[in-house]
């Protein structure tokens, strides 16, 4: 239960980070609060859109999905089942791979670091690690 709670809390924070980046990309608000200016460079690069959709929007959808699955997994009917954690692990694995690719682009192609993107990558990695930890713990017992 604790792992799903932790995943839900992390996904909620990640959702807002991605939402901030996405809102910026569609023109809501001004310049990104970034410090070094690297965020604008990354957001202005041609890599900030994939298949015509802002990359941050994939993050919004991904975190929303993880949050939803984690909350469903916390319901009494699902607490004892492994299904939600398997689905969470699958989503988080996809998220970590996507984040790794984006971090590679920032470091070696765009040559600028977006702190918000790094924050999102760290949150997604944390979710993935919590999912891995959940696999090592036995399924909770349910009373008949």
């Amino acid at each position: 239960m604790r792992t799903r709670q932790a995943i839900a809390a992390l996904a909620l924070v990640g959702f807002f980070v991605a939402l901030y980046l996405w809102l910026h990309q569609i023109g809501v608000g001004g310049e990104l609060k970034c410090g070094t200016g690297g965020c604008e460079t990354v957001q202005a690069s041609r890599w900030s859109q994939q298949l015509g959709i802002p990359v941050a929007f994939y993050g919004v959808v991904g975190y929303a999905a993880i949050l939803a699955v984690a909350l469903v997994g916390l319901q009494p009917a699902w607490l004892a089942r492994r299904g939600p954690i398997l689905l969470l692990a699958a989503l988080a694995t996809g998220g970590v791979l996507f984040s790794a690719w984006l971090t590679y682009l920032e470091l070696f192609v765009i040559h600028a670091i977006c702190r918000w993107c790094v924050t999102s990558a760290l949150i997604m990695t944390a979710i993935w690690l919590v999912c891995l930890a959940a696999f090592r713990t036995p399924a909770p017992r349910t009373d008949p």
Partner: protein, 220 residues
């Protein structure tokens, strides 16, 4: 479990408050003016020019207002080129926008120059943007600074502001960039002398030699 949902609720409220703060605490650059448009239409515009149309040599410059090398060229070399090559009728100079993707405000600057240009002040704004180039080093939204530059050029500020808000030249700027891409522009500034990419040094002496050579080739 109930405690967890209370904590999640508190966290949500805190995150919403933070998001609202982040979005409202920074003045917005006119987005339409600072981003590539979805659709690009050729409006027939081919850049602002200097010098005589009948000059034997045409130089096309693909520049980015946020690029330090372009600023250096505009401030250091261009006055000599204007005096010795443009004012003397040897060269017709054409400026084309080539905003580089790593420069967050180059499209905005190009748009500011276009908005001044519709009031006949393109070159004045061009000089303001390049002469006061510190705006490009801060990483901060330069919209207010650009308004100050526009004021210095003597344009009607109400019309300038309306132009910037509308983003009406974003498509023109993107068309110019795509044109440059097709012509193999891979950095800024890139020059074409009578249609051929200039590979020499970006100083007025080298330009003078290249332009004399192009003019001689034309005479032959």
């Amino acid at each position: 479990m109930k405690r967890f949902y209370v904590m999640l609720g508190v966290l949500t409220v805190a995150l919403v408050a933070m998001l609202v703060y982040l979005l409202k605490s920074n003045p917005s650059a006119p987005r339409a003016a600072n981003q590539a448009p979805v659709t690009v239409v050729d409006d027939g515009f081919r850049g602002y020019t200097l010098g005589s149309d009948s000059a034997p040599v045409e130089v096309i410059e693909y520049g980015d207002f946020e690029c330090p090398a372009c600023a250096g060229f505009a401030v250091i070399q261009m006055p000599t080129i204007k005096e010795q090559l443009i004012a003397t009728g040897k060269v017709h100079w054409r400026y084309r926008d080539y905003p580089l993707p790593m420069h967050p405000f180059s499209r905005l600057a190009a748009h500011a120059a276009q908005c001044a240009g519709e009031q006949g002040k393109f070159w004045e704004m061009h000089d303001q943007l390049f002469t006061n180039h510190s705006w490009a080093q801060t990483g901060k939204n330069p919209t207010g600074l650009f308004t100050g530059f526009a004021r210095a050029t003597g344009v009607d500020l109400a019309r300038y502001d309306a132009c910037m808000e509308s983003g009406r030249y974003a498509a023109r700027i993107e068309f110019s960039r795509q044109e440059g891409e097709q012509r193999q522009v891979n950095g800024t500034p890139t020059f074409y002398i009578n249609g051929k990419m200039y590979m020499g040094r970006n100083n007025s002496d080298a330009f003078k030699a290249a332009i004399d050579s192009a003019a001689a080739a034309r005479r032959r």
